[in-house]
Symmetry: C2
Subunit: 356 residues, 2 copies
C-alpha cells in the first residue's frame, strides 16, 4: 500500500533524493566508501559540504556577510545558544506558542526577557501583530515564524532595527526570505531539509563575537571560523540535506516549491472552509501552509479519524499532545497526490459520520 | 579498485551493515517510509531505539543502574557537559594528550582542575601510570582511554573511589569493559559504532542530578528522564549504530571482536618491531590496538608513503597534524585483509627506499 506520511517532523523526504542516497549508500560516486565512512577532513567530503552550502546560498540568496553553519543539538540547543551568544542584558521575544515559550525559558536563564506580544489569550490560534517594538536596550528580537503545533505562521516580518532572530525550523525553504532583514535564522533539518541531527544556522558576521568563557561547542564564532568543521560534523546528515538542496534547485527553486506548497495547502483549506463537519481554529490570516490543524466534531471522532486514515495509508495525522485534534503536515516533499488522497478520505469520513 | 580506509574517524563501517542500511533506505521493513522520515514518537522508531539500547546493554553488560543516552554534539560537547553537570568545585584530569587537554580546558571554565598525571614530557608517547589519586575534594576523575592521535591506550583502569569519567570514543566496543567501575563513559559514534552525529553516554543514576539553570540540552537528567527522546534525536544515526550493535552480536560479541582486533594490531606491530626502516614512538605497554602510529626515516618519505599507499587503495594513512608521521586506524570494521595489504605495501615501500 502507498503510504503518505503527514508527520510534523521528522517528515517525508523527496523520493528522488532517497533513491539517490540509496544508490550511493555503500559507495559514494567512485570514492571507494560510503559518505558515512568519510573523514570530514577529506577532499571528497569537503566538496560535499561546500556544495551543500553553495546550493543553500543560491536558493535563499544569502548575502556574503552571513555565515552558514551546520550544527548539532536541534532547536533545543539553539534556544540556549542564541541567548548565550547574543543576550547581554535583555532580549525581546514574541510568544506564539509552545516553541517560543521553550526559547523564552532558556533566555530567562541568561538575562531579562521582554515579551513583545503573545497570542496566549486565544490558545495561540493566531499570530500576534507586533508593531512599534520598544527597541531600546534589546539585544535582539526573537520569534518563531511557523508554529508547527498550532498551524500558525507569521505573514509579516516584525520590523525592528535590533538584530532579528527567527526560528524557521518548520517553514525553512518553503518560500523566499529576505535574509538581510535578519540577524540570525535557524532551522532544524527534520522538516523540509533532511534527516534529524543537523541544524542550520544563518548568522550575520557582526553577531559572531561571543564570550570566550562559553562552552566551546556553544560559540557560533568557533563553528564559523572553521566552516562547520571545528569538530566532526554530522557528515552524512549534511550530505542528505545537500541532496535536498540540489533537488530544490532542479525543480525550479523556492518560487516553484512555494507555488506547489500554496496549491497543496489551498486544496486542504478550501475543503475545510467548505465543510460543515470539520473546523479549524486558526485565524485565516495566520494560517500555516506547512501544518494544517483541524478538528472533527468530537475528540472521539478525531481518534477514529486517525485510525481510519492509517488504514488507508494516510499516517501521522494526530495533532500534537499540547493542542489535541488533527494535523496534516504537508512539507515540501509531500506530493500533491498525498493531499488529494487526504481530502478524498476526509470527505468520505465526513459523509459517514455527519448527522443530518 | 578495492579501497581500505584507515581514517581515524569517521571511519570504516561493516560492509554487511552498509548493505542492510542500503536495502532499507527508501523503505524500512514494511513501514512505508525511510527511517529518515519517521517520527521519533512513532512505534516503529521506538522499537528501533529500544533495540539499539538493548543490544548495546547486552554487548557491554551495562548494569541496570546506568542510563544509556544517545546525544548530539560529539566529544566536544561532552567536554563541557561533564563539568557543567558534575563539577561542583574541583575535578582530577589525567593528561594523555590532545583530547584530554581539550577536555581540561572546558573544565577550567567551570571549576578547578587537578592534573593527576601527564605524559607531556615525552610528547604523549606513553600513558602515565597514576596511582594513589588524592581523592579528597575531587568531584570526579577523568581520562581519555584511547588517544587516537598518538596511538596510545590505557592498559589499566585508574583506581579511585570518586566517580570515574572516561572518554572511550576511539576504543568503545573494541573490548569488554567493567562498566560498574565508571561513573560516566562517553563515545562519539564515528569510530567503532556508526556515522558521526551521535554520541553515546553511559551514566550512573546517582550522577544525573544537575543544576536546573543549565541550558536544557546540556542536562543529562533531561535526556535520561525521556530516554533520549526529550527532543528530536539524530534518529537515522542511532538506527545505523543499532545495526552495528546487531552485527557485533552476530559475529560473537566483544570477545570475538577483541580477538580480531588484537590479531590485526599484532600483525602490524610485529611487522613494525621487526623493521629497521619504520619506527614507532609509542612505548610498548601503551600501544593502542585501534590506532597504530609510525614513521618512515623522514618526513618526506612519510609524504611519499601516503601518496603511494593511496595509489594502492590504502587511504587516509597520514598522521594527525599535531603528531605528524603516519597512522593506521584499524577499528572493528577494518577487515584483516586490509591490514595484510597494508603490511605488504609497507614492506615493499621499505625495500624500495631502504638504504644499505
Amino acid at each position: 500500500m502507498k503510504i503518505y506520511n503527514f508527520a510534523a517532523g521528522p517528515a517525508v523526504l523527496p523520493l528522488e533524493v532517497l533513491k539517490n542516497v540509496q544508490k550511493d549508500l555503500v559507495e559514494y560516486e567512485e570514492s571507494g566508501m560510503s559518505v558515512m565512512e568519510m573523514s570530514h577532513r577529506s577532499q571528497v567530503y569537503q566538496t560535499i559540504i561546500d556544495d551543500a552550502e553553495k546550493n543553500l546560498r543560491d536558493l535563499l540568496d544569502i548575502p556574503a556577510n552571513y555565515k552558514v553553519l551546520f550544527l548539532q543539538g536541534g532547536g533545543t540547543l539553539q534556544f540556549s545558544m542564541i541567548p548565550l551568544n547574543l543576550l547581554k542584558v535583555k532580549a525581546g521575544y514574541i510568544n506564539s506558542g509552545h516553541w517560543s515559550i521553550k526559547a523564552i525559558s532558556e533566555a530567562l536563564k541568561v538575562g531579562y526577557v521582554d515579551i513583545l506580544g503573545s497570542s496566549e489569550d486565544k490558545d495561540f490560534t493566531y499570530i500576534p501583530r507586533i508593531t512599534n517594538i520598544p527597541e531600546k536596550d534589546l539585544d535582539y528580537v526573537y520569534y518563531c515564524d511557523n508554529n508547527t503545533i498550532f498551524g500558525t505562521k507569521f505573514n509579516y516580518v516584525p520590523e525592528t532595527k535590533r538584530p532579528l532572530v527567527c526560528d524557521m525550523s518548520s517553514c525553512f525553504l518553503s518560500e523566499k526570505v529576505d535574509v538581510s532583514k535578519y540577524g540570525l535564522i535557524f532551522a532544524g533539518a527534520q522538516k523540509n531539509v533532511g534527516p534529524a541531527g543537523v541544524t542550520i544556522v544563518i548568522i550575520r558576521d557582526d553577531l559572531l563575537d561571543s564570550p570566550s568563557n562559553l562552552p566551546t561547542y556553544l560559540r557560533y564564532k568557533i563553528h564559523a571560523d572553521k566552516n562547520s568543521l571545528y569538530n566532526t560534523p554530522p557528515a552524512f546528515n549534511i550530505y542528505v540535506c545537500g541532496e535536498v538542496f540540489k533537488w530544490l534547485k532542479r525543480i525550479g527553486g523556492l518560487d516553484e516549491i512555494h507555488k506547489r506548497d500554496v496549491e497543496k495547502a489551498g486544496l486542504l483549506y478550501n475543503y475545510l472552509d467548505s465543510s460543515t463537519f470539520y473546523t479549524t481554529k486558526v485565524e485565516k490570516e495566520s494560517r500555516s501552509i506547512m501544518n494544517v490543524t483541524f478538528n472533527t466534531p468530537s475528540a472521539d471522532l478525531d481518534c477514529e479519524f486517525v485510525k481510519d486514515a492509517e488504514k488507508m495509508g494516510l499516517v501521522n495525522l494526530k495533532g500534537h499532545r499540547v493542542s489535541g485534534g488533527l494535523r496534516a503536515s504537508i512539507y515540501n516533499a509531500m506530493p500533491l497526490d498525498g493531499v488529494k488522497e487526504l481530502v478524498k478520505f476526509m470527505d468520505n469520513f465526513a459523509k459517514k459520520h455527519q448527522k443530518g
